[in-house]
Each structure stands twice: as C-alpha cells, then as structure tokens.
C-alpha cells in the first residue's frame, strides 16, 4: 500500500451504513404499528428504500474513487472517537478504498435485489416488519464490517452480522427446530470469534509493545515490520495471530471445522439464505483475510494451512452435496464448497482472485437461492427434490435464470464463474504458495460441483413431474417483484466475470483485467500470483492448458449427471450401491460430523459441568459449611464461657451484694432505741480508742 496515502475526508460515506441502520431502527420501533395501520407496503418501502439509497451512495463512492489518482483512492469518514483505554485509541472511522468499494456494492446491490425479492416471497407474513428490520440491521452490520478502518470496528460488524444471522435463521421461532438452528449458528460462530478476539488481542499487544498502539489498518500496515522476529512462547506472533484470526474466519465462513451450522441455517427464510448465507455474511472471513493480507503474507505457515483447509472443505462439502435431496441444502453445501475455493485463493496469496470469486459467487449463488425460493413458492413450500421435476414449462423465468446461474457456477466458459474459478485454479498451481496438487484438488472439486449442480437442475426442472396432483394444480410463476431480481442476478452471473478476464485470454482481445488493476494499489506489493500478468510464453501455454483441463473435468461431471438423472442411462441406484453402498451411506450421514461433535464437545461440556458441580457441592460447599461450622462452634464455645464463667461471676457479685444487703439491713431496725444504743456504743468505742492512743503516747 502506498505509505504516503492521502485520505480524502468524505463524511457522506457514513450514510451508506447509517441509512439501513435508520431503516432498522424505524422498523424495529414502529414497524408493527406501520404494518397494521399503514400496511405492509410501507414497511417494504422503508426497508428497500434505505438499501437502494445506500446502493446509490455506494455508486457515488465508486465514481469518486475512480476520479482519484490510483494511489490515493481512499475516502474516510471519521465519525467520533470510540475508545481511549490504556494505550488503545479507536475511532468510529469508515473508509472506502478499492476493496471496500467492491464489497459495499455487492452488499447493497445484491442485498437490495434480495430485499425486493423478499417483498414477494414474504408476502402475507405477519412479522414482516421484524423480518425487514433485521434484514436492514444485518445490512448495516455488514457494511460496518467491510467499511471499518480498524480491526475493532470490523469485529463489531462481525458480531453484528452474527447476531442478525441468529435472529433471521430463527425467524419463524415458533418452530423449535428453527430456534435450535439459530442457536447452533450463533454458538459455533462464537467459538470462531474466540479465536478472532485472541488474534486481535495478540496483534494489539505486539504492536503496542513496539510502540505502535493502534488497530487502524492504515497505521498498522506500514509498521508490519514490528512483527518481524516477534515471538510468543517460541512461536512467531504473526503465525499465531493469523492462525487465530483464521479460526474466526472458519466460523464465519463455514470452513472445517466450524461449517456445521450452515446447512442447518437453511431453516431460515430463503431470502435470508440468499443474502446472508451465500452472498455476504459468509464472505466476511474471506474479506477479513483480504483486508489483512499484509499480515497473512508474513505467515507462510498460516497461508498453507488456509489453502489446505479451504481445499479440504471444498472437497468435503462437494461430496456431501452429491447425495443431498433438499434443494436448499444442496445450495448450502455448495456455498461451503465455493467458500473453500475462496479460502484456497487466499491461501495461495491470490487475494484479488479470491475477492473476484466472492463477487461472482454472490451473483450466481444468490440467483440460485432465489430461484430455489421461487420453486418452493410455486410448490407451496416443497423442498424435497424427489417431489419436484418438470417445472421448466410452468416456471419459465425461474428456470431460465436458474439455468444461467447453474452454468455460471459450474464454470462454463463465458459465464462469470469460469473466469473467477480459473483465476483461483491458476493461482493454486503457479503462486509461490501454491502447488500443483492444490490445482488438482480444485479441479476435482470443480468436477463434483458440475455434477451436483446439473443433478439439481435436472431433478427440479426437467423430466416428468413427481409432485402430487394438488401441487401441480397450484403451480404458478412468481410475481415480477421476485422474477426481476432473478433476471438481474442472472445478467450479473454472466457479466461480472468480465471484470477479471485473464491476460492470457484478454490481451489478444484488448480486454484488461479490470479487477487486478483496481486492486493493484492494495495488493500489488504482496505475493501476486506469479505469472498472472503474462500473456505469452511457456506460462501462457500452461495456463491455457490447465484451463482446458479443468473445463473438461467439469464438463465430464455435468455429463455424468445428465446421464444419471436426465437421460436415465445410468441408474443412480447402481452408483450409490457401489462398494457395498458404503460411500453412499457415509455421505448420507454427512461423515457423522455432527454426531461426533455432539458426543465429544457437547456431551463433554455437559460432563465437565457435572463434574464441576460435584466439586462445587461436595468439596467447596463442604469447606464453606465447615468454615460455618467452625464459626458456629466458636459461637457455642463463647456462649458456654458466657453461661458458665461470665454469668456466674456476674451473678455471684450480685448475690454477694444481695447477701451483704440482707445481712446489713438488720441494722435498720426502725427502732429509735437501737439507734441510740448504736450512737452510744460508737461514742464509747471512740473514747476508748482515744484513751488507749493517749495512754500509749
């Protein structure tokens, strides 16, 4: 990054997240009233209006950035100082640079389309105001996440999207299973967040010890040298911090080992699945790594780890999607798999390629989810693909847009997915952090992806209908408010790819790699995949060859799916019964991952809690009671002393006084004569005494 970056102050960029926030506040506080008094249209209008306005502002930000010199593309809105604690001073500062500009356009653009779609999908929903309030709140949190100028504010957005995800997954909370799914998402994310926080703390600690007590990106990146040689318990701080941060990313972006929440999150309404669990929230981990790429570049070990985990996740999820029968679950596993691709990109240092795939994935995955929602809407909520089929004719818009998105995700040349996936695969092969095996694994996954996506398309839209008669009666295409976003996303699924035409293809046509040039001021200095800029020579041939190979594998997967499900040349049962049906069963049980987690972690925690409870009641409470007993004993002892020593002593004094009194009172006879005798005798006694004293002298 340009160390002498001149930031342009632009307070209006703060409106980008604040507009959806105001929508969330208005709808949260008065949405119920609005919905009942004015009507659902008012609620929808407010929700979509704020996001649309934010999108327009995002466009303006983009235009402004384009107008700035490439090295100084940064718009900053510093709202107010947030914390000043110890040595840490954190401002609420939002910024738009090339990376965050892309992100906010995706969030507000795709998000806006989904908001519009939701007007139709959630039509008649009683809690519509609550839905849109949370959706707006989510948009706000996501925008904070991507526009944050420091790590702490980013974490605020990170937590915010997690909360909104929980609220929206469990939106139909009256069904206990939905609430449980929401809890699972939140809790699993929490585990990742622990890693994130530890990484953040470690990072700040190291920077502060070196005299740079800050978490602001623009101040940390130039001073990354602080981490050279910094060690904690014998491990380099850079590696430790990045591993911890990556742990947070595995939670948010559903990688191994914390991906288990994403399939369950399909319990939420489909627009939620599209927005949060496809296009935006799950990409937060990828964004975070891109934002901190300079940090990750200092930890090659972590990069290898990220690449390995990403590829493994991509493979695992793809295998699970092969045998899924729920239309949304297939897409969920697909998302996990594509996120694995993005992580693979990050792991080989191809930051730009990862973000590119993030953008294209947002288009076609959102399109796929919305199309699935459209199908479910048409079939009255049916989600099982075994009861679908033959919907091509009845749902033309849905079918065509879904076809486009499917072709895109499969990596069909000329569609968006082809360009972004190819960029990742080439980087996996050729980057200095990459390896041919990584390329091979990614290509295999591409084949699997093609298989299950074509399988899904064929099962849903082609062939004869397997739905029951009642459902077939009510088949209808979705209203325009739902199909228009589908078309727009479909167009994006084609066009977005042309932002990243690799030079090997584009130079001859005069098409530049737009994104690479766009991201160059940010990523240019760090580990750009080797050979990405060349168009001829041995590298170019290799690149083209690998491209053709991966397309061929994908085509093979697609063909296999067609043969099994479309043309019915190969019976799916023969495949699933292969090898004694064991692989099929393992996949159907999802590798028993959830069961293992439950047995080990959940039961383990409960058992630990039981043990500690036992310790608490038997040991600690006994000790406390023992202390109390000691005190009681002391009290009893004190009381005995009081009863047996003190009281008798006091009583003895009183008794003695009384006895003396009783004896002495007899002097008081009341008779005058005795008093006179007393006087006389006393006087005589005195005289005698005086006599004896005088006689002695």
């Amino acid at each position: 990054m340009n160390p002498h970056l001149v930031a342009t102050p632009a307070a209006w960029v703060a409106l980008v997240p604040l507009l959806p926030l105001s929508g969330a506040i208005v709808l949260g506080l008065g949405g119920a009233w609005l919905q009942h008094r004015v009507g659902p249209r008012a609620v929808s209008a407010i929700a979509c209006g704020t996001v649309a306005a934010a999108f327009l502002l995002a466009l303006r930000a983009l235009a402004t950035l384009i107008g700035l010199p490439p090295d100084d593309r940064l718009l900053v809105a510093t709202l107010w100082p947030w914390l000043e604690v110890g040595g840490l001073a954190v401002d609420v500062a939002l910024g738009v640079d090339p990376l965050s500009a892309v992100m906010i356009l995706v969030v507000t653009g795709v998000g806006g389309l989904i908001h519009g779609y939701a007007i139709g999908y959630m039509h008649g929903e009683r809690g519509l105001w609550r839905f849109f309030a949370f959706l707006n709140l989510f948009t706000f949190a996501m925008l904070i996440l991507v526009m944050a100028e420091n790590l702490l504010l980013l974490f605020l957005g990170w937590e915010g999207v997690g909360f909104c995800s929980w609220a929206l997954i469990g939106f139909w909370y009256r069904e206990p299973a939905n609430a449980v799914a929401g809890n699972k998402a939140f809790i699993v994310n929490r585990i990742g967040d622990l890693g994130f926080v530890l990484g953040l703390v470690l990072l700040f600690w190291t920077f502060a010890d070196a005299g740079v007590p800050t978490l602001a990106f623009r101040l940390m990146e130039p001073r990354a040298d602080v981490l050279q040689g910094a060690q904690l318990w014998g491990m380099p701080v850079a590696t430790l911090a990045t591993v911890l941060l990556f742990l947070g990313a595995t939670g948010k972006s559903a990688q191994i080992p914390l991906y288990v929440w994403l399939p369950d999150a399909m319990a939420g309404p489909t627009p939620v699945s599209a927005l949060i669990h496809a296009a935006t929230m799950v990409t937060a981990g990828v964004y975070m790594i891109a934002r901190l790429h300079w940090l990750f570049a200092l930890a090659p070990f972590t990069l290898h780890l990220i690449a390995a985990v990403g590829l493994a996740t991509a493979f695992l999820a793809a295998t699970l999607a092969l045998v899924e029968t729920d239309i949304k679950k297939v897409l969920a596993y697909s998302t996990v798999s594509q996120l694995g691709y993005m992580m693979l990109a990050m792991g080989v240092g191809a930051w730009g390629a990862g973000i590119f795939h993030l953008v294209t994935h947002a288009f076609f995955k959102a399109g796929l989810f919305l199309a699935a929602g459209s199908v479910m809407h048409a079939l009255g909520g049916e989600q099982d693909m075994r009861r679908m089929g033959g919907l091509w004719a009845a749902l033309p818009h849905t079918a065509v847009t879904c076809l486009v998105a499917t072709l895109a995700i499969v990596g069909t040349p000329c569609f968006a997915g082809f360009f972004s996936k190819d960029a990742i695969l080439w980087a996996a092969f050729s980057s200095r952090y990459g390896h041919p095996l990584l390329w091979a694994g990614g290509t295999v996954v591409a084949g699997l992806t093609a298989f299950y996506m074509v399988r899904q398309f064929v099962l849903v839209f082609l062939g004869t209908s397997r739905s029951d008669a009642d459902a077939r009666q009510h088949l209808h295409e979705s209203p325009a408010v739902m199909t228009v976003p589908l078309w727009i996303l479909a167009v994006g699924a084609v066009v977005a790819g042309y932002l990243g035409v690799p030079p090997v293809l584009g130079e001859s046509l005069g098409v530049p790699h737009v994104l690479e040039g766009w991201f160059a001021p940010l990523f240019g200095g760090h580990a750009a995949p080797a050979g990405a800029g060349e168009s001829h020579g041995a590298h170019a041939e290799l690149e083209l060859g690998l491209m053709i190979a991966s397309v061929t594998v994908a085509a093979g997967g697609a063909l296999l799916a067609w043969l099994m499900y479309g043309a019915r040349r190969i019976a799916p049962e023969r495949v699933s019964d292969a090898l004694a049906g064991l692989p099929y069963r393992v996949l159907r049980h999802r590798y028993w991952v959830d069961e293992v987690y439950a047995a080990v972690f959940v039961r383990g925690t409960v058992s630990l809690a039981r043990v500690l409870t036992w310790v608490d009641t038997q040991v600690i409470d006994r000790l406390v009671d023992g202390a109390a007993t000691v005190v009681r004993g002391a009290a009893v002892l004190g009381r005995s002393i009081d009863d047996w020593l003190v009281d008798p002593a006091v009583n003895a004094v009183a008794d003695a006084t009384w006895a003396v009194g009783r004896a002495a009172r007899h002097v008081q006879t009341g008779a005058v004569t005795s008093y006179l005798y007393g006087v006389l005798l006393g006087m005589l006694g005195g005289v005698l005494l005086w006599w004896s004293w005088a006689a002695a002298r």
Binding site: T673, Y677, L680
Partner: protein, 166 residues
C-alpha cells in the same frame, strides 16, 4: 462540815432524786414534773456556783420554756384519761449495765485526774460580764445561735403543721 457543804449535798440530793424520778417513773406527766424538779435543782446549783445569771436563765428558758413546751406536747399527744402506763421502759437491764459502765468510767477519770485548783475568786454578779462577752468577743457565736433559734422556730412551725388531706 460547813454549811455550804450541807447546802450542796442537800441540793445535790434533791436534784438526783428528781432525776431518778424522771428515769424511773412510768407516768409521763410524773416524769415531766420530776424533770422540773431536776431543772430547779440544777438552777440552784448554778447559783451555788456563783452563776447567778445562768441560774436565772435556766429557770426562765428551761423550766418556763422547754418544760412547758414538753407539757404542751404531752397534752397534745396523749389521751391522758385512759392511759395508765404512758412512759414504759424496756430493756432496763442492758441499759443499766451500760449506764453503770459509763458511770464507773467517769468516776475513775474524775478521781484519777490531777485536778489543778486555782484560787477561788469572790462571788460577783456575772450578768454584766456575760453581757460584755456576748457583745464583744463572743458576738459571732451569739448571732449564729440566734440564727439557729430562728431556723428552729420556722422549722418547728413547718413540721407541726397539720397536713392538708385532699
């Protein structure tokens, strides 16, 4: 035995006899009159000693005042008519023992003391001398004694008022 000695013994016998009457009598009025006799005897003895003023004062105050007052008190505090024994005595023996002891002691002192007897002076009227003394050297005691009498007077009045019963 000179006439003065005889007179002395006669007066002494009269006084002692009267005193005996006071100590022994069981009727209070008899005791009172015996007391009167004793006081008269003492007055005579004073005069015998040359204290003429003192004798006169003895008669005036003791007999005429105190004794009369005692008789008044007797009258006011007795239903004289029905009382036979109005001045009983109890515990005579121990009292007699004690009295005897005291007497013996006093007599021993008297007999053993080395009395220094000085030249007797002629008997002269003492009134003027006492008067001068009271208004001269012994003025303060005199005034204080007057004050005591005043206080006694007030006190006696206060003490003997009849209580007002509600």
């Amino acid at each position: 035995m000179s006439p003065t000695t005889v007179v002395f013994y006669l007066l002494a016998a009269f006084t002692v006899a009267s005193a005996f009457g006071v100590a022994v009598s069981t009727h209070i009025v008899y005791s009172a009159f015996a007391l009167m006799g004793t006081l008269l005897g003492v007055a005579a003895l004073y005069v015998f000693l040359g204290a003429d003023f003192l004798g006169a004062i003895q008669l005036l105050v003791y007999v005429g005042g105190i004794l009369v007052l005692s008789l008044f008190a007797i009258m006011l505090t007795h239903r004289i008519a029905d009382v036979h024994v109005s001045n009983r005595a109890v515990g005579r023996v121990p009292a007699a023992v004690v009295a005897l002891l005291v007497f013996v002691g006093l007599v021993r002192v008297a007999s053993r003391a080395a009395w220094v007897v000085w030249d007797r002076q002629a008997l002269v009227p003492t009134t003027a001398a006492i008067g001068h003394a009271f208004l001269g050297r012994w003025l303060l005691p005199f005034e204080v004694a007057s004050l005591v009498l005043l206080v006694a007077l007030i006190g006696a009045v206060v003490l003997s008022r009849k209580e007002v019963r509600p």
